[in-house]
Amino acid sequence: MVPISYYLGLSAALFISGVAGFLLKRNIITIFMSIELMLNAVNLSFVAFAAQLHNLNGQVFVFFVMVVAAAEAAVGLAIIIAVYRTRNTLNVDQVDLLKL
């Protein structure tokens, strides 16, 4: 038997990795992927909690999260394309016209 907290710990670790990716990566697409990683981490928590609680709601949530993730992916990638088109770069550090 695997203690539920292991799963949660794994979830936390993945979430942290996602945050770290956002903070450390320069490529916009990679950053976006980090966000996906964070969402995945949350999904793991949901499923783990669902298992702990013997309550399937958690699994249902995962579907919604996935739908949202898909929608975000569509829009997000479109935005990235738009940025690339106007800036010709995917370096997040160069997208800083608006500031102060």
Binding site: L8, L24, I29, T30, M33, N40, A71, I81, A82, D96
Partner: protein, 181 residues
């Protein structure tokens, strides 16, 4: 046995995540992410969520990641670009914050969450139960996601549709002149 599986796939999972961070090329990162997702699917199975596991593979790894890779290819994104001002703040504020956040989250999830000994994989999530939930209790969110998807489609269309050529030139000129807006 389950514990072993958990550890193996947890290790793969973490490894994939770290690899995502370590890789310079977005394609490699994307593939790492696929690895993470796949191993997560296994974890789901361990937790008795077969349906979720299946969907995870189909939607995430199958659809979303394909989209990512498609875009990476489309934009011909290469090695992680350099240049531009790197943010000191991201390092000076972000990394310590990240460390603390890690400690806090792991601590609170690892120790605070319910009982640490839990029944794992005890109750399988039969698709019909999930279906009942989805179309009764969660009918409204389910229906509302249609609006979400519609928005996403509209958004993708309006943002990614090609510009008329003269617009692109205008933008480039505008950029060259260093102006804003």
């Amino acid at each position: 046995m389950e514990l072993l599986l958990f550890w193996v796939f947890a290790a793969i999972c973490i490894g994939g995540a770290l690899n995502l961070l370590a890789q310079k090329h977005p394609i490699n990162s994307a593939l790492s992410l696929v690895v993470v997702m796949a191993s997560l699917a296994v974890e789901y199975l361990l937790l008795g969520a077969e349906f979720v596991a299946a969907v995870q593979v189909i939607i995430y790894a199958g659809a979303i990641m394909v989209l990512f890779i498609f875009v990476i290819m489309l934009l011909n994104a290469g090695e992680e670009p350099h240049g531009g001002k790197t943010s000191m703040v991201a390092k000076l504020v972000g990394i310590p914050a990240l460390a603390i956040l890690a400690v806090m989250l792991v601590w609170s999830l690892g120790t605070q969450a319910g009982g640490s000994v839990a029944v794992a994989g005890a109750e399988p999530g039969p698709p019909q139960v999930i279906a009942r939930l989805l179309f009764n209790d969660f009918l409204l969110p389910f229906e509302v996601t249609s609006v979400l998807v519609l928005i996403a489609i509209m958004g993708a269309v309006v943002l990614a549709a090609p510009l008329k050529p003269h617009h692109a030139e205008q933008i480039l000129e505008h950029l060259k002149s260093g102006g804003q807006n």
